[in-house]
Each structure stands twice: as C-alpha cells, then as structure tokens.
Symmetry: C2
Subunit: 67 residues, 2 copies
DNA sequence: TGTGAATATAAATTCAAA
DNA sequence: TTTGAATTTATATTCACA
C-alpha cells in the first residue's frame, strides 16, 4: 500500500520544516494534511524512518532525520 | 559539585563503548562503576549532554552523543 | 501487511528536601 | 544546586482484526 509511504514522506517533510517535539504533535500536523493515524502507527513510522529525537540548544526536543 | 560532572563523563564513556538502550540500563552500568543514581537524574544528565536515542539498523535503540 | 485500541515500558517533570 | 520519590507524559509493543 502507498498510503504508508506517502504518510512517511509527509512526516519527513513536516519535521524538516518545523520543530516537532512529540508524536502527538505529529499526529495533529498529519491530520491537517489529511492523514488520520494513531500514535501506534506514528511510533512505527518513526522507527522505520530511523528518526532521532534530539534535545536542542533551547532544551526543547525535536524529531529529525538522523542523517 | 563534581560528582555530577564525573558521572556525566562516565556516561559518555559508557555509551561510547557499548550499546545502551534505556536509562535503566545506564543506571545499572553506572552502579557497576560506583555511581548510585535514579532515573530522574539520568534523564537530566541525558538532556544536559544532549544525547540522542537512535534506532540502529537492527531495530534496537541506542543512546549516543549526537555529534 | 498495516493498523488501532489497549497496555506496557521508558522517559520527563514536579515537588520536597538536603 | 542537585537529587530522589512520586507522578505525568511520551513512546513502544501486544493482540485482534481488516
């Protein structure tokens, strides 16, 4: 299925363009773009995409593509 | 106080030398090296050290120094 | 296969205290 | 300031099912 791949690409785009700190935040953003998913699915996407969660200079954590 | 800085250096050494997946694991390793701390403290250390948790190729997550 | 609901596990934070 | 105990919050996993 391509819904999954599309969604994962959207995730990459989202985190590249704005700081996203939690999976719940990501769920909301995805919803704005027409993707309806739950936290369990996001968690799996993040794992597959090998995203990392890093604490920024300001102390806020942000998801990003590790490399 | 230097206990904190010493402990944080030990943390950096530990994660550099073996894969550590969780804060509880880190607590155990630190204990082996004479440091007695709780998860709350480790969480703060990790934040200060700006460590990242990344999912490896094998699917296991590991803490590492982001850069 | 991919997903959601429920649950388990991990991690961050609050609040008191040394 | 730094910490631990308790708690909240976030994330990963299990289990059933389309």
């Amino acid at each position: 299925m391509n819904a999954r791949k599309d969604r994962q690409n959207q995730i990459l785009t989202l985190i590249a363009n704005e700081p996203i700190a939690t999976q719940d935040e990501l769920i909301l953003k995805l919803r704005e773009h027409g993707y309806e998913v739950t936290q369990a699915t996001i968690s799996r996407d993040i794992k597959e995409l090998k995203l990392i969660k890093q604490v920024g200079a300001d102390g806020k954590s942000v998801y990003s593509a590790g490399n």
